[in-house]
Amino acid sequence: MSDQHQDHESPLDATVIASLMDLGGEPLLAELVDLFCADAPSQMAELQEAAREGDAARIAAAAHSLKSSCANLGAVRLAELSRQLELAGRAGTIESAADVIELSRVELERVSAALKEHLS
């Protein structure tokens, strides 16, 4: 899944965004984006902290939260990264977690930017 080409594509699944627009239009999307932008950075920080401490269970929990919120907004790649982190955390195999978290951090920035772009 770590395909370099994806860097040039939108980090968001257009169909998910479209269905959110169907459901609640601009206002709902704006509200969800606000919530996401408010919560995702602290979820990311929690992930990084958990990885520094080598706490697998905490990684799983934080990744789970992040996964839910980005899946809802169609951030498919970030959701997939979070899912890998959650599974690794649950399995206790967190040797490469720090790398995946770094990938996620970069992806999160792209996602946030893309979401804001959608709204403007």
């Binding site: 459901l23 609640g24 839910s68 919120s69």
Partner: protein, 637 residues
């Protein structure tokens, strides 16, 4: 005895309701075995307002009011110490407990409803002919006392219980039991027992909102339950808003089938109840509200769009209540938005603990919850809820990630109803919640059907009681008949035989009755019998039972010895002689001949006593009629 313990615990708090003033004085007085009627009436008369109320109560509870009773002494003997005592307790409690600490408990409405129930039970007792009107009034007044007790002892906790039950009596009993290990029916019965009320009355209070086995209960208990139950529904209508009133009416309609009342008669009885209720409420300073004529309530209730099951109808237009639970805000917002868009009434909780608290206090129909949450997760929430009675009826859908789908088996073991994978497809979520809504609706329907079934059973119980009563009642005069008299005599003889309990008989025969029939026709003859029966009934006391044996022959069975029977006979003879009966051309007072006998130690059987009373009547006739003859057993040498 777990229940006894629960009540003892309530008692130990020292916060159980207790009557002040005269109520307490009477309670103390009657704790002793040797209190007299004079003691009671003296205690009542220390309070002039209470005196007036007791006289009003007594006069309204008598079926035939030939001459109103004007003294408390008379009131106490006529309706009996027990009923007077209970009503005094009730009246004292009203003023002492017009407010209290339990927030959700509406004290004003409680007494208003209690009073409507009291008046209603009395009226129904008079119209249906079940139970003693004075007893029906007194039990109607205090049958809700267990609720006041729980509100007084557990004021804060009881507020929650009331909120949860949503005013449904059976749910209230259930939740009370969960919270306090005793419900208001049981607590009320224990309290009344503590106050020394007769066991049959305490049992009745316990059983009013419950299904019970009639075989196991005394006839007196069954009659009281039947009458007070119907009165309870009518009282609910009185204090309810118009919209709810018409729903309850359907239940009353069902209960009516057990009575001998036509729909119109029931409506007129109900309207009379409202009038009398307002009258009493003014005297006792209890609130009332405007009640539309019952004919209007019936019309609202029978409008065609009304569902045939009242409970389902009650909630039909209200949207299903869904509790959405997720710790992650984007998901929660999206979930609740989706559910709202589908027309549900949605509340949000951001974690398991919060959800549990909200679920237990607001009892949603459906919960849609995320699985993985810090603290209490979705499964734990589900398991905890299922351990509570309330939680068992909630439809629970759990949200699960794709990769957890294998673990769903575990989720079903925790008794979830369904699951939806995340991120959810709105169409799938909608379909699953709608399936849940159908299950919830079906459960409601079943509950409504059950409640309808219970009302039918209750109506059947009333019918059975009434039929039994009919078989013991003389149709012309409405007095107990010969069969009843013989049963009663058998019991009296049994008590006499076992422990020497005294009883006396007054055999009564109308003088020259044949002449009335021959000269004025049988219609007049019937009227003379009816009128005479009414006077006899009115002039006898609680401890004296008048029966019609047949033809122009009556029998009074008196608990107690010769002196009481003699006084009773004298009273009856005088009243009949002074009572002018008018019917067509007939306008005169008749007279009666009376023969008095009492159970003596030499008597071998009941027949000995009956034979003496018969002989005494013959002698009275021979001696010139309109007189009393007392016959003792011939002295054995």
């Amino acid at each position: 005895m777990k229940l006894g313990q629960s009540f003892e615990e309530l008692k130990l708090t020292g916060r159980l309701p207790s009557p002040p003033g005269v109520g307490m004085a009477i309670l103390k007085l009657t704790e002793a075995d040797d209190f007299s009627v004079a003691d009671i009436s003296h205690a009542i008369q220390t309070d002039p307002a209470l005196t007036g109320r007791i006289l009003k109560f007594t006069n309204s509870a008598r079926s035939v009011s030939v001459s109103p009773i004007t003294t408390v002494d008379e009131a106490v003997v006529r309706v009996g110490v027990q009923s007077i005592r209970t009503v005094v307790l009730g009246f004292s409690l009203i003023s002492a407990y017009s407010e209290g600490a339990c927030e959700a408990f509406d004290y004003g409405r409680f007494w208003s409803e209690s009073l409507a129930r009291a008046v209603g039970a009395k009226r129904l007792s008079q119209s249906i002919g079940l139970a003693v009107p004075a007893e029906a009034y007194s039990i109607g007044l205090l049958s809700g006392i267990g609720r006041l007790a729980l509100a007084s002892v557990h004021s804060a906790e009881y507020s929650k219980v009331i909120g949860r039950s949503g005013g449904e009596p059976r749910m209230l009993l259930k939740f009370e039991n969960e919270a306090f290990a005793i419900d208001h029916g049981q607590a009320g019965a224990c309290l009344l027992r503590d106050w020394g009320l007769p066991e049959s009355h305490c049992r009745a209070v316990d059983l009013i909102e419950r299904d019970y086995d009639p075989e196991a209960e005394e006839a007196a208990t069954q009659d009281l339950v039947a009458v007070v139950r119907l009165a309870t529904r009518i009282a609910e209508v009185c204090v309810a808003g118009e919209d709810v009133a018409s729903e309850i009416w359907n239940r009353i309609e069902t209960l009516r089938h057990g009575t001998n009342l036509s729909p119109d008669e029931l409506i007129s009885v109900c309207d009379q109840i409202v009038t009398e209720w307002k009258d009493w409420a003014q005297i006792l300073d209890v609130q009332t509200n405007d009640v539309p004529p019952f004919s209007e309530i019936r019309m609202l209730a029978t409008e065609p769009e009304q569902s045939d099951s009242p409970l389902a109808g009650a909630r039909k237009d209200r949207p299903l209540r869904v509790l959405a639970v997720d710790d992650e805000r984007v998901s929660l917002r999206l979930l609740s938005h989706q559910l709202k868009a589908d027309g549900y009434d949605v509340t949000e909780a951001s974690g398991g603990k919060e959800a549990l608290e909200m679920a237990l206090s607001t009892v949603p129909d459906v919960i849609v919850t995320d699985w993985k949450m810090p603290g209490m997760d979705g499964l734990e929430l589900c398991r905890t809820l299922r351990r509570h009675e309330i939680g068992q009826s909630i439809y629970i859908v759990i949200l699960t990630g794709m990769e957890d789908e294998d673990a769903v088996v575990e989720a079903f073991e925790s008794e979830i109803d369904d699951y939806v994978t995340k991120p959810f497809n709105p169409k799938v979520l909608r379909a699953r919640v709608r399936a849940g809504a159908r299950v919830v609706e079906l459960k409601r329907q079943v509950a409504a059907d059950q409640s309808q079934l219970r009302e039918n059973l209750a109506a059947l119980a009333v019918l059975n009681r009434r039929l039994e009563k009919t078989s013991l009642t003389d149709p012309l005069t409405q007095l107990p008949n010969r069969r009843f008299a013989m049963e009663r005599l058998g019991e009296a003889w049994g008590r006499h035989d076992r422990n020497g309990a005294p009883f006396s008989l007054i055999m009564i025969d109308i003088d020259h009755f044949k002449r009335v029939n021959d000269d004025f026709g049988h219609d007049t003859g019937d009227e003379v019998l009816r009128n005479t029966a009414a006077v006899l009934d009115d002039e006898t006391r609680e401890s004296e039972v008048v029966c019609r044996l047949g033809g122009e022959e009556f029998l009074v069975i008196c608990d107690g010895g010769l002196a009481g029977a003699e006084a009773c006979a004298a009273r009856l003879r005088e009243s009949i002689e002074a009572n002018v009966i008018e019917h067509g051309d007939f306008k005169e007072a008749i007279t009666i001949s009376l023969g008095v006998a009492y159970a003596e130690s030499d008597d071998d059987s009941l027949d000995d006593v009956l034979r003496r009373s018969d002989e005494a009547v013959y002698q009275a006739k021979r001696d010139g009629r309109n007189r009393i003859v007392i016959l003792s057993a011939p002295q054995t040498a």
